[in-house]
């Protein structure tokens, strides 16, 4: 099938639009504050339209195949190519990236956190969006790695400049942790390159992910090689997810980051790690995957319970939400560790649902902080439903979605993840996975516990007198605009999960087939 010009360039245009916007922003004088913010909104809106157009033009019958492909030579000396494309697995994450990007830009229209410097703030956000989106559509290992690392520098500055009190510590910790993991991943990629397939004509090695996947899934790598390299690559992904015990950067980074930084961190950036497992680590190194799966499952089960217990102990509202991410990503990783279609489907659904719900929670926490100027739960002191009924209502709605109430987006992913660990892939130890399932099940109860307790302490009760006298404005128009899409999705994904599951199914089937043969 011949592809039209649009099909060849759609992904490139959409992905790099934010960077183009960032460059334009740099040339706007900084006194033109409104114009800079406007440019941010316009650029992300255009990019979002591009992503929607790709989603509409996508052939869902062939969702297991790569579409909108552009594959040209980039660094001929080492054989790295500019190879981008999109399939059913990438699609939801790609669209979600631009959706959250747009919503963050809209949110920025009203509010740039201190110390201002709107120009740098908008430019860095745009750069960040390109990096995140690129990760999901890169099909060359070097290109993937470049996009992967591209997010580090902007996020470092977003946290370090616009974060709250402890921002400097949080930002460098975030940077060092993720860099540490990812450089080992890079060494792993190089090992794949040199041990991987060669071009039959030129005899050159390749970084092309499709070729390496075919080679690896076909048993091209030796067992020992797979064990070592899976370890190196998984380290990079595991830090990003973050899997327990590599998670300690996350509470600091999420808590200190400005609102939209937290939204993008939780909403998209964590998914880069889980996506990496699904897209690269599993199919390329199937024997490694089978060998490591029980360990990943165990760490995931620990993460679920650990995060829930940690959440119960938090006094800071934002830190609580941050820790809840560790638990939710635990469910995602548990699904992946089962190496089944249901499990990986659950994982991808969980990624999207978590992006929508936790992104929304961070928006809410940001807005609550805007009004109270504190994040301490005890200082807020309850009674939000009295002071800001709409805000409190939405807060309750999203928190309940996050704890996994059936009918809302959070439920499907967690339920399917537990379901899949009841009957993991045949090569894995069923008893062990059922233990994980039980542990995860206990985790869901604890999760419900801390979310409800949080709602009780924030929403219910008598509002402290000082807040009553102070008085708050309930949800503003700009907040409605940036939140409504997420609220709608929370409901929609809960009722019609098939929009995600049907899109990803073919791709996931293929990966499971590649892993288990």
């Amino acid at each position: 099938m011949t592809e039209t010009t649009w099909q060849q360039w759609a992904i490139t245009i959409t992905t790099f639009l934010p960077i183009a916007g960032a460059i334009v922003v740099l040339f706007v004088p900084k006194e033109q504050d409104r114009m800079i913010r406007g440019l941010g909104v316009v650029t992300t809106a255009l990019a979002f339209c591009g992503a929607i157009a790709i989603a509409i033009g996508f052939d869902y019958d062939r969702s297991g195949e790569l579409q909108f492909v552009k594959d040209v030579s980039w660094i001929p000396v080492i054989g790295a190519r500019y190879h981008v494309g999109i399939d059913g697995i990438s699609m939801p994450l790609f669209v979600l990236t631009f959706l959250l990007g747009l919503l963050c830009a809209i949110y920025t229209w009203r509010y740039v956190p201190p110390p201002g410097r709107t120009k740098a703030f908008v430019a860095l956000t745009l750069l960040l969006i390109t990096g995140m989106a690129g990760t999901f559509i890169a099909f060359d290992l070097i290109l993937f790695f470049v996009f992967w690392e591209l997010v580090l520098v902007p996020m470092y500055f977003l946290i370090g400049v616009w974060g709250s009190a402890n921002r400097q510590y949080a930002s460098i910790k975030f940077f060092l942790y993720t860099l540490f993991g990812s450089v080992f991943m890079l060494l792993g990629f190089l090992a794949l390159y040199f041990s991987g397939p060669t071009d039959p004509v030129t005899g050159k090695h390749t970084f092309d992910l499709l070729q390496i996947t075919t080679f690896g899934a076909g048993g091209g790598f030796t067992h020992t090689f797979q064990l070592i390299v899976f370890g190196a690559i998984a380290l990079g992904f595991a830090v990003k997810v973050p899997m327990w015990p590599f998670h300690t950067w996350l509470p600091d980074a999420h808590t200190e980051a400005p609102t939209i930084g937290s939204v993008l961190l939780a909403g998209i950036m964590l998914k880069m790690g889980t996506y990496g497992f699904v897209r690269i680590a599993l199919p390329v190194l199937p024997e490694g995957a089978v060998a490591y799966a029980p360990w990943i499952g165990a760490l995931a089960a620990i993460a679920i319970v650990y995060a829930a217990l940690a959440c119960l102990a938090q006094k800071d509202l934002k830190r609580l939400i941050a820790f809840s991410s560790v638990g939710h990503m635990g469910f995602v990783m548990l699904g992946i560790a089962t190496l089944t279609t249901i499990g990986i489907q659950a994982a991808i659904f969980g990624m999207v649902a978590h992006g929508v719900i936790t992104g929304m929670l961070f928006f809410l926490v940001g807005s609550i902080y805007d009004r109270y100027h504190t994040r301490e739960i005890s200082e807020i002191g309850g009674g939000m439903s009295e002071l800001m009924p709409k805000m409190a209502g939405i807060f309750a709605f999203v928190a309940i979605a996050s704890l996994g109430l059936p009918g809302l987006a959070g439920f499907i992913g967690e339920f399917m993840s537990l379901l899949s660990s009841f009957s993991p892939a045949a090569v894995l130890n069923v008893g062990l996975y059922r233990t994980f399932m039980v542990v995860g099940g206990i985790g869901t109860i604890l999760t419900a516990g801390y979310f409800l307790w949080m709602l009780q302490r924030v929403n219910q009760g008598e509002a402290p007198l000082k807040w009553k006298e102070h008085g708050f404005r309930d949800i503003l128009a700009v907040e409605w605009v940036s939140w409504l899409p997420l609220l709608t999705l929370t409901l929609l994904l809960g009722i019609v999960p098939s929009i995600i599951l049907e899109t990803t199914k073919n791709g996931v089937d293929l990966i499971v087939h590649q892993v288990l043969g």
Binding site: I75, V77, I142, L152, V153, I172, L179, L187
Partner: protein, 487 residues
């Protein structure tokens, strides 16, 4: 045999410029001494033109094989001359406003660069020695150019003593090699060494070590590194830039020819030594850099660490010619990329030194507001030195990682050490952007205009760092071309 003057043209033009600068200075009035810079600049640009004119002309040999013009030579000569342009430009205001002897300075600087330009073309021990000394000797004087500053004197003296000592050892090693192989020419030495046996072979190994010492000093590898921080700090900032960029690159250019051509047959003996040198150099450089509060000292330790990275491909040399070629290629690519970001960092440091001569890291506070362009550029250079996208430094590291993994054996372990070191380095490289962007200056300072010439250098280096990131193939191709020359 007639001498091929076209092949020698770059060297001849630089030599003529040196003499011209010396003479012109005599006739310049005291208030216009800085005009020497422009004379030097024109000469260097002319030499650059001569290098360009040699491109595509095939290999040329002069002086019976002692001086060879091939792709390696041209790439490095072009690189050194471009560096010379940058160092001249950032020297201009610093020297003029600092009350230095300007004519003498430009004379010495250009003489050092003459050594640099000779180095890559030198394919015999005597020429290599001459080139190395030509780089070093004026350097001793320039390092102590801040006469009234006790640190400058100390740094210069240290540099001189260690330099002379290591040169003496190297010369002794060279004489041993000449005695063993009765040749000074690199290929002939390789042949001669391969036939040695018994005690002569042992003696050859000792001689190789002695020769390496001279170059290890030049590139500030452990344990010959400790002059670097004191010397850099004491020297005028542009001189530190010269030492950090050109002088160490010249050392590597010579070392590449020696190890990959003359001594390659003995690699199984010296490659493990280089592995140890490389690991120690990068680790020590990075760990000590963590504690530095003075920018130029920090850059000196960063330079030591970077030398450790560049030494890594030497440790990968083996009997496998294809991998050797790739190691060579990675080294050249790394040196080129490293130089761009390093010269940029020194350019920004020179600009800041005008306002805050002490150059503590705190002196960068608030630079993002005071001179946004300098701050953006410096941030890019630091990110690049750390080897993180979106900057060119990443591709330099990647080239070394790649060849290390390809080599197998000890390679992946060395790569792992380098990876850990790279992560550590982020902690100190980021201290400067942190000061510039996160902190505010003590007193409220108005925006300061960047000196135009430094702005040009920093701007070009910034463009280059970003351009290399987007299109790394050009640099890799240069590495490949230079490696083809010796293969």
């Amino acid at each position: 045999m007639p001498i091929d003057h076209h092949a020698l043209l770059p060297v001849e033009i630089v030599s003529a410029t040196i003499l011209l600068v010396l003479v012109v200075d005599l006739f310049l009035p005291a208030r216009a001494k800085e005009a020497s810079m422009w004379v030097g600049l024109v000469g260097i640009l002319a030499a650059l033109g001569a290098v360009v004119s040699l491109i595509g002309g095939g290999e040329r040999t002069v002086f019976g094989g002692a001086y060879v013009v091939d792709a390696f030579t041209l790439i490095f000569q072009g690189f050194f001359l471009a560096t010379a342009v940058a160092v001249l430009l950032i020297s201009y205001r610093y020297l003029r406003d600092g009350g230095f002897y300007q004519g003498e300075y430009y004379f010495l600087l250009l003489t050092s660069f003459l050594g640099c330009v000779l180095m890559p073309a030198s394919r015999n021990l005597l020429m290599l020695f001459l080139a190395l000394e030509l780089v070093s000797a004026p350097g001793f004087l320039m390092a102590a150019f801040r006469k009234s500053d006790i640190k400058g004197n100390e740094g210069g003296l240290k540099f001189f003593i260690i330099g002379v000592l290591s040169t003496a050892v190297m010369l002794y090693g060279m004489s041993l090699i000449y005695g063993l192989t009765s040749s000074l020419e690199l290929h002939a030495i390789a042949n001669g060494l391969s036939t040695l046996q018994g005690p002569h072979e042992t003696l050859a190994k000792v001689a190789i070590l002695f020769v390496v010492v001279g170059f290890a000093f030049k590139v500030s590898a452990v344990p010959f590194q400790f002059w670097a921080p004191d010397t850099y700090e004491g020297a005028p900032v542009p001189v530190a830039a010269f030492l950090g960029v050109a002088s160490s690159a010249a050392g590597f250019a010579g070392l590449l020819q020696l190890m990959f051509v003359a001594f390659v047959g003995q690699a199984s003996f010296w490659a493990p030594i280089f592995a140890v040198l490389s690991v120690l150099t990068m680790t020590l450089g990075n760990l000590v850099a963590l504690r530095q509060r003075q920018t130029v000292r920090l850059l000196a330790y960063s330079g030591i660490a970077q030398s450790g990275y560049i030494l890594l491909p030497f440790a990968l040399v083996s009997a496998d010619a294809a991998v050797n070629q790739r190691a060579f290629q990675a080294t050249v690519s790394y040196i080129l990329i490293y130089a761009v970001m390093n010269i940029g960092a020194f350019a920004v440091a020179t600009a800041v030194a005008e306002r805050r001569p002490s150059l503590q890291i705190e002196d960068f506070a608030g630079l993002a507001r005071i001179s946004p362009l300098l701050a953006i550029a410096m941030t890019a250079f630091m990110v690049s030195l750390a080897g993180v996208p979106p900057t060119g430094g990443f591709w330099g590291k990647l080239a070394i990682f790649a060849v290390a993994i390809e080599r197998g054996g000890v390679g992946p372990w060395l790569a792992a050490v380098m990876v850990v070191n790279s992560v550590i380095s982020v902690a100190y490289y980021f201290s400067i952007p942190r000061a510039m962007i996160f902190d505010e200056a003590d007193e409220d300072e108005a925006r300061v205009a960047t000196p135009a010439l430094i702005g040009v250098v920093a701007g070009l280096a910034l463009l280059a760092v970003v351009a290399i990131f987007i299109l790394p193939n050009a640099i890799y191709r240069l590495g490949e071309l230079s490696a083809l020359a010796f293969g």
